[in-house]
């Protein structure tokens, strides 16, 4: 047992839960709900029940690649898409000028409604118990070579036993908030950190690191002159995230855009030395994709103006999120900086921006099911694994909840491939490559981007969700009907032939499929070419047919790549392989392979610093080992 935990618990809950989830952020909520829906008696412990599914930073869901994740979460039976559909106040699809593979959904949420909607949903869930409590320790049984989690201990001296534990503690582990030169321990501004839990994890022998991130000041809309900004409306017809949502009926609101001025930059430059990120007061690594305004001013000094998006935090609050102004500067510099921006001359800050540093667990210590390789039953999800973003957290939470339940049931884990889902890319990147900055998903991280689209997330994952018991009979019926209609629609396009006018005379017997492949021809246009042809009426099916035909060549190339890489994935590496003894590998390669302990050659090939030559050497060794084993077996048989 952990020596850092309270010596004698005052209250020992006699209930033994199947799964305990620590933390009720976006990861914890998905984990707890999935586990309970899979039949597990589940306990969700949170520092504050009032902060369930709180949006600590941007009041928005989705974005490039993140929208993809939300659709995948939905297809697997998760919560996030339905939550944002119910509470979104501005929907906007991004990349609409580009192809379907990279189009992503994004929506502003009324963050207060979002929280209460999720809380209601969780409270209504059977087998799910929500309790307020700060977890300080883990009950761990030491086994032979491998420990095993048995429950958790809280600050109040409660002890809860379980088969599996999912820790989704966000930025709370050893959290330290900085505003200018001021700093204080906190998990989020105004909330206590989880310092003891961090030490408990360290005590388990886990490699930990420190990351940092920062958030923007929240402004009072009453003090903003919106006439001096540019209005940014949402899409005219908001498109829902969830495959279940028919339409968005909630009243939509605009956002606004303004820009920093040369004066803003001068103020930031003058205050730079007081920022904890610049002065060196903070230890962690900040994300490159979400830089503080200080960093933007430092690294791109020639850019005189940066866009600032003013985003409402809800329909019934005047609080405004100043997107683009992430900062750790002292409050008075924040005020001066803001007031140099058009529209914000008289602005009042409701909550200042702040920087936070926190502990994370090196995720290469996790197996692809998100369970720690060395602690049976202990799963980690969300920012504790070095990621950032609600969507990345929710995706991990869902997978960790599913895998905790599967483990309790004694069933094999769910591991999604890089060619199946962005979720697969995310988890594989984490457990294989590890992180050096807060990890965010991008479409460029996916090798098979054309296969992983928002529009086909249901076709990719719903059957899996159904097998897990997270998708209902009705939902799967709807999907199967869609798949059937697609197949029939494509067959019809191949079967029907028309005469096409072309340079150099008419061409007879051209299949409609070939006509559709031409640039500028849309699926609906085909109706005019062939009187016997009726396009599939369901819009989502028509869209799939059009994409399948138009992208066929590219999709086939990506599928060929998938098959090639699958061969490497099928070569498994024994978990107990002693890399130190493989002298054919460079010392660096041995160290890295030994730290990650990849499950197969494909995973090994993706570890940073592992060259094609190292992979070849490893393959040679594995094949040699196999051969040796075979010969030994043969030898034994001969002696008999």
């Amino acid at each position: 047992m952990n020596p850092k935990t309270p010596s004698s618990p005052r209250f020992r809950d006699p209930t033994r839960y199947d799964v305990i989830v620590v933390g009720a952020g976006h990861a914890g909520c998905e984990a707890a709900r999935a586990s309970a829906r899979m039949g597990m008696s589940t306990l969700l412990l949170t520092i504050s029940i009032d902060q369930v599914a709180h949006m600590s930073c941007n009041p928005a869901i989705g974005g490039i690649a993140k929208g993809h994740l939300v659709r995948e979460i939905d297809a697997l039976g998760g919560l996030m898409a339905m939550a944002i559909d119910a509470t979104g106040i501005q929907f906007r699809r991004l990349n609409m000028k580009k192809g379907p593979a990279v189009r992503s959904s994004r929506a502003q949420a009324d963050m207060y409604m979002y929280k209460s909607w999720v809380r209601e949903e969780l409270e209504a869930q059977e087998r799910l118990h929500i309790k307020q409590g700060l977890v300080e320790g883990l009950l761990v049984e030491e086994g032979a070579g491998r420990s095993r989690v048995a429950g958790v201990l809280t600050q109040a001296g409660e002890e809860y036993g379980s088969e599996a534990v999912v820790v989704a503690s966000g930025t709370f582990l050893g959290g330290m908030v900085h505003v200018g030169e001021t700093m204080y321990p906190a998990g989020r501004a105004g909330e206590p950190p989880a310092t003891t839990l961090s030490r408990a994890l360290e005590h388990l022998g886990l490699r930990m690191g420190r990351l940092m991130t920062c958030t923007t000041p929240r402004l009072d809309a009453k003090t903003i002159d919106f006439d001096r900004t540019q209005e940014q409306p949402g899409d005219e017809v908001p498109r829902p995230f969830s495959f279940r949502t028919r339409e968005i009926t909630r009243e939509q609101v605009p956002c606004w855009i303004t820009r920093t001025t040369p004066g803003t930059l001068r103020i930031i430059q003058a205050g730079l030395h007081r920022s904890p990120m610049v002065s060196g007061a903070m230890k962690g690594t900040p994300p490159r994709y979400c830089p503080s305004i200080e960093d933007k001013a430092r690294h791109f000094p020639d850019r005189t103006s940066h866009q600032i998006f003013l985003e409402p935090e809800g329909a019934r609050t005047t609080e405004i999120y100043a997107n683009g102004l992430f900062t750790g500067l002292p409050v008075e510099v924040q005020v001066a900086m803001l007031r140099s921006i058009p529209g914000l001359e008289e602005v009042q800050i409701m909550r200042p921006g702040y920087a936070i540093e926190y502990d994370f667990v090196d995720p290469t210590q996790l197996a692809p099911d998100l369970m720690l390789k060395d602690v049976t039953g202990l799963f980690l999800a969300g920012q504790i694994n070095g990621t950032s973003g609600y969507e990345e957290a929710a995706a991990q939470g869902l997978l960790a909840g599913i895998n905790a339940a599967l483990r309790v049931r004694g069933e094999p884990p769910l591991v999604l491939g890089r060619d199946e889902a962005y979720m697969g890319v995310l988890v594989d990147d984490l457990v294989t490559r590890g992180v050096t900055e807060p990890y965010r998903l991008f479409t460029s991280r996916a090798e098979y981007r054309l296969l992983l689209r928002e529009d086909n997330a249901d076709l990719r994952l719903m059957e899996t969700g159904y097998r897990l018991g997270l998708i209902t009979d009705e939902e799967i019926g709807w999907l199967r009907e869609k798949a059937r209609m697609m197949e029939r629609g494509l067959e019809e396009l191949r079967g029907r032939k028309v005469t096409v006018e072309r340079e150099g005379g008419a061409r007879r017997g051209t299949p409609l499929e070939k006509v559709l492949r031409q640039p500028g021809v849309a699926y609906r246009d085909l109706e005019g070419l062939d009187t016997g042809f009726t396009p599939v009426p369901r819009q989502d099916v028509a869209e799939q047919i059009e994409i399948a035909v138009k992208y066929q060549g590219y999709i086939q190339r990506q599928e060929a790549m998938v098959r090639k890489v699958r061969r490497l994935e099928s070569l498994t590496i024994p978990g107990d392989l002693d890399y130190a003894s493989l002298s054919a590998l460079s010392r660096e390669a041995r160290d890295r392979l030994g730290a990650v302990r990849p499950r197969n050659l494909g995973q090994a090939s993706r570890i940073p610093g592992i060259t094609a030559a190292s992979v070849s050497a490893l393959m040679v060794y594995l094949k040699g080992r196999e051969k040796e084993k075979g010969e030994r077996r043969k030898g034994k048989a001969g002696r008999k």
């Binding site: 994709y289 866009q307 002298s583």
Partner: protein, 479 residues
């Protein structure tokens, strides 16, 4: 000709054995009696092997100091009283050695018995005999050289002409690697432009298509230039098969001799003397060529000649270049005319021989025929030039300072780069599929990925992390 056969070399590179985990030893100097000879030992136990079989003149010490030549005696393991020879040893500590592993070089007097004795001592001390090419293979596996460099090592050792040696040395020194790095940076630039627009549409609204096309074109041009060296480059390594063919008694063998500048083929006045084929190696502008003299082609002769003619036709089919020899002292036979017609599409040089004799009135040679005399040497130099011109198409590809394609594998990787760039450029100019009206960046990215994979096949790897790093350092990202 001493050239490792291509199959063995491929096998060495294909790494088909698992035995490269242990310590290997080999005699690294040519067999025979030489002033000095060297045994090389590489692998994790190289140092232990050295300590077991070598005692420094200064007496037993704490072990070898890296990169210092040490004089002493080499002997069977732990029997310093039975010296094999006096020797100088140098220890190279991993990773600063040829193979990247601990390596020992033992230089002694170059007698076969001495070398064998040292090798045997090394094996007794725990090393294993190295396979052909194994040192180079280990060097590649340990990341000490890229694949192009590894390929060039054997070719350098076995280079048969001065030009081949120069090109292979350039390869060993990493010329192709440098060209690949240049193409890679153009492609990474192209990929960065595309990915920035896809993943950060609010900050990078449009793809800079001008710059994109420029980068793609630069990579395309570089790959095309390298591919132009492929014919000659591969020939430099593998040699070119040139077949001399023609009717009996037109002077094919004399012509081969003239090219060889020495008597190698039997030349006889009676038609049909060369029944089997004779070959010699010549160097044309540095390209090694295996020139084969064949039996004359004549139908209606005896069974022996028939068999010879059949063999000749087979050789002609497998040739990289044909030299068709005619006799200028008599009109062409119908058979010769047919032969000229049937080989018109193949790379060939036509020679009208016997220019030292009066020309027949009815003899009309095809355009571009070289008028030569094997007897006087007239036209032979011209013939050499023409062979080179026909083979290279007049290019001087090997004179470029950069890399030279010396294997089919490299040519295939470069072709992948070339076709990826050219597809992307075509799509960019409006020739590719799209749903939204313009070339979609995510589709262009598939082609650029393919080209990058080609670069990866040539020498190294490109990761998604590298592209993201480029985006963050170049564009101001983050709302």
């Amino acid at each position: 000709m001493t050239r490792p056969d291509a199959k063995a070399r491929r096998a060495a590179l294909a790494m088909t054995t698992a035995q490269h985990l242990d310590t290997i030893a080999a005699i690294s100097t040519p067999p025979g009696h030489g002033g000095v000879g060297m045994v090389r030992i590489a692998g994790p136990r190289a140092r232990d092997v050295l300590r077991a079989i070598f005692t420094p003149a200064s007496g037993p010490d704490g072990g070898p100091v890296p990169r210092r030549a040490t004089l002493g005696h080499v002997h069977p393991p732990r029997r310093p009283s039975e010296p094999i020879d006096q020797a100088v040893t140098v220890f190279f500590q991993a990773p600063r050695s040829f193979t990247g592993e601990d390596t020992v070089e033992i230089t002694a007097h170059g007698g076969p018995l001495i070398m064998a004795g040292i090798l045997s001592a090394a094996v007794q001390a725990g090393a294993r005999l190295a396979e052909p090419g194994e040192f180079t293979r280990r060097s590649f596996l340990n990341g000490r050289m890229d694949l192009c460099q590894a390929e060039a090592v054997a070719s350098l050792i076995f280079a048969s002409t001065e030009e081949a040696r120069q090109v292979m040395l350039r390869q060993v020194e990493g010329a192709m690697g440098r060209d690949a790095a240049a193409m890679r940076s153009h492609l990474v630039d192209a990929k960065t432009l595309l990915e920035a627009a896809i993943d950060f549409p609010e900050e990078v609204e449009e793809v800079d298509t001008g710059r994109l096309a420029g980068s793609l074109r630069a990579a395309l041009t570089a790959s095309e230039e390298l591919l132009r060296t492929a014919r000659e480059g591969i020939a430099l390594r593998e040699g070119l098969r040139v077949v001399i063919a023609g009717a009996p008694n037109v002077g094919k063998s004399s012509l081969l001799n003239a090219l060889l500048e020495e008597e190698r083929s039997i030349v006889h006045e009676i038609a049909g003397t060369t029944r089997d084929y004779v070959e010699g190696v010549i160097s044309v502008e540095g390209v090694p060529m295996r020139v084969v003299d064949t039996a004359g082609l004549r139908t209606g002769a005896g069974p022996v000649e028939e068999e010879g003619a059949r063999r000749t036709r087979r050789l002609m089919e497998g040739a990289d270049l044909l030299i068709m020899v005619l006799d200028g002292t008599r009109p062409m036979s119908r058979e010769e005319e047919r032969l000229l017609q049937s080989t018109a599409g193949a790379p060939r040089v036509v020679v009208a021989n016997k220019a030292d004799l009066p020309r027949a009135a009815g003899f009309v040679e095809p355009d571009g025929t070289i008028i030569a005399s094997a007897l006087t040497g007239q036209g032979v130099e011209e013939l050499r030039k023409e062979i080179h011109r026909v083979f290279t198409g007049g290019s001087r590809a090997l004179e470029a300072a950069g890399g030279v394609v010396t294997s089919l594998r490299q040519a295939e990787a470069l072709e992948r780069i070339r076709s990826g760039c050219s597809r992307a450029l075509e799509a960019l100019e409006g020739g590719g599929p799209c749903l939204s009206g313009a070339a979609e960046p995510e589709l262009l990215a598939v082609d650029v990925d393919d080209a990058l994979a080609g670069v990866g096949e040539l020498t190294g790897e490109v990761t998604a992390e590298e592209i993201l790093g480029e985006i963050f350092s170049r564009f101001c990202i983050g709302k």
